[in-house]
């Protein structure tokens, strides 16, 4: 059985023995006794879960020992056991964050037992939180949440991995339904900030006053109707990640304020005067073409350069070829698990139908299509007739672009090359054109 290690620091061997005995009456605890403060400090690397500290030690004062403990293990519960019933010392120590102050008398063993019992409850709670955290981390392991093996998605994995190992901002772009939120979470939950908050602010669809309040909060009395302080999302994300979803929709004036905050790493709450220090990572996302937004004067170029960091462009599903089938199978498994139904398989005809569609709603749309197919099938096979696409959605805005025929040709060839992993022979066969045409266009950098 794994035990909870408790350090006992007590210079009186008889008393130390008694403390040791009292603590280990609960088999969940194991102890190590130190007769001096310095000896205990040398052993802090063993990472005890609790420290019972005699305040009056021959070598170091209790204050010093406590300070050194806090430097190494800031959150560790420390129970101070003292022969001195001094309210001033006790108050000061409680202010330093000790768990309890126990005076040495005949009731000490009972008091220790009581405190330790409460600590076990706390440890159980902490362990539960730890388990939940691990579950979340596992849930957001990027190769588990983002399915696919196509070259374009492998490049995305590569960038996500880089982003998890760095602390610089990340800008995720991609059409609606490509999984931008999942990528943002995967980066956070695989980074060094994973134990700290992941705070999402959806910038799109809200007025600028609301977003300002959400981001910066306010001080009591900011407006006559405001009676208490509100902590903004910037502060709530301290030491963690702030995810600004659809950041290009942020009001232009707020973009300026956000830029200032990022540059100065601090801000003042509206209605306040005190600067709030910030330590967070920002991940932004957008479904729009940022370059275009800058050119049209809707997004600040200087903010873009501050946030650009690692740019991750999520490819539309229609460019991901065989990934469509990998994701479809994943959704079938999910459906089967959630509905406790047998896992269906896709017939070749169904696979062909799925591969030919353009998915304007991307992965979100594919999930809906698969869920419906799982409902519609009457067997353990999903056939092409079970698959239906929402005809009200445009298949593609391809023709709406009104390009020249030459440009359309280039786009078509580029699309097929991406879809078939740059296999020129296969693309030439699919489009019924000569392979030399493709090679020539590649050589001339036309595609």
């Amino acid at each position: 059985m794994e035990t909870i290690l408790v350090f006992i620091v007590e210079d009186d061997p008889a008393y130390a023995e008694m403390l040791q005995y009292t603590v280990t009456r609960n088999p969940l605890f194991s102890t190590e006794v130190f007769l001096s403060g310095s000896e205990m400090l040398k052993n802090l690397h063993k990472e005890p879960a609790v420290i019972c500290l005699d305040y009056f030690l021959p070598d170091l004062s209790g204050n010093v020992v406590l300070k050194r403990i806090r430097e190494h293990l800031p959150d560790i519960p420390v129970i101070v056991i003292s022969g001195q019933e001094d309210v001033r010392i006790a108050t000061a120590l409680y202010r330093e964050g000790i768990t309890d102050y126990i005076v040495k008398d005949h009731e000490t063993p009972d008091r220790i037992q009581f405190v330790m019992k409460h600590l076990i409850e706390k440890f159980d709670l902490r362990r539960e939180i730890e388990d939940l955290r691990e579950e979340v981390e596992k849930k957001y392991h990027y190769q588990d949440v983002i399915k696919g093996q196509s070259p374009v998605i492998r490049q995305v994995f590569h960038l996500i991995e880089k982003a998890t190992k760095s602390g610089i901002p990340v800008m995720i772009s991609g059409e609606t339904g490509t999984g931008k939120d999942l990528v943002a979470k995967a980066i956070h939950f695989n980074s060094v900030r994973k134990r700290k908050p992941f705070v999402t602010v959806n910038v799109s669809g809200y007025n600028s006053d609301y977003i300002e309040t959400e981001l910066f909060g306010y001080e009591k009395g900011y407006l006559s109707t405001i009676t208490s302080r509100k902590t903004g999302q910037l502060e709530q994300a301290t030491k963690g990640t702030l995810y600004l979803d659809e950041i290009t929709d942020l009001d232009y004036n707020l973009q300026g304020r956000l830029l200032k905050v990022i540059q100065e790493k601090e801000f003042v709450r509206p209605g306040g005067s005190e600067a709030v220090k910030l330590d967070l990572r920002i991940i932004g996302s957008t479904r729009k073409n940022i370059g275009e937004e800058i050119v049209r004067g809707r997004f600040r170029e200087d903010l873009y350069y501050q946030l650009q960091g690692i740019p991750i462009e999520l490819p539309p599903l229609r460019y991901r070829g065989e990934d469509i089938l990998i994701i479809a199978k994943y959704f079938i498994e999910q459906y089967s698990r959630d509905n406790r139904s047998p896992k269906a398989t896709l017939t070749p005809a169904a696979q062909g139908k799925l591969l030919r569609y353009s998915y304007p709603g991307n992965i979100r749309e594919l999930r809906a299509v698969i869920n419906l197919a799982c409902v519609m099938t009457n067997s353990d096979m999903i056939d092409d007739v079970d698959i239906s696409f929402n005809s009200s959605l445009p298949h593609s805005d391809f023709l709406m672009e009104e390009n020249s025929l030459e440009e359309y040709t280039r786009k078509i060839i580029r699309f097929f090359l991406q879809k078939y992993n740059n296999n020129v022979l296969l693309v030439a066969e699919k489009l019924d054109i000569g392979k030399s045409t493709i090679y020539r266009m590649l050589k001339n950098k036309e595609i």
Binding site: P13, A14, Y21, P58, G83, K104
Partner: protein, 115 residues
């Protein structure tokens, strides 16, 4: 007349019920370690080193409290106070004499009880 007991091991008896031998083990540590503290305390007293006297009295106080050695509970505090502040310093000869005599008596009684 109700006589005040010399000491009280109730706190350890409960432990002993759960784990026979616990009482003897803890008390033995007390019997082994206290004479040294007592010796140092006497030495500090003889040398009139009040700071050391206060420190050693403080150390002994915890053991006296946990074993509930009633006759020494206030006495050890008085020694500590005399060492720390000088207050009641003139009583130290008598306090030390009582301390030595009583602890000897407690040692004998406890040895007899746990043997």
């Amino acid at each position: 007349m109700c006589e005040v007991p010399l000491y009280d091991l109730t706190a350890f008896r409960a432990m002993d019920e759960e784990d026979p031998g616990a009482l003897a083990k803890i008390v033995q540590v007390f019997l082994d370690s206290t004479p040294e503290v007592l010796h140092d305390l006497n030495e500090a007293y003889q040398a009139a080193d009040l700071q050391a006297l206060a420190h050693l009295a403080h150390k002994l106080k915890a053991t006296i409290d946990i074993l509930s050695i009633y006759p020494l509970k206030q006495l050890i505090r008085d020694i500590e106070k005399a060492g720390k502040t000088g207050e009641g310093k003139e009583n130290l000869p008598q306090l030390m004499e009582t301390l030595n005599r009583t602890t000897e008596k407690v040692f004998t009684e406890i040895r007899r009880e746990i043997s």
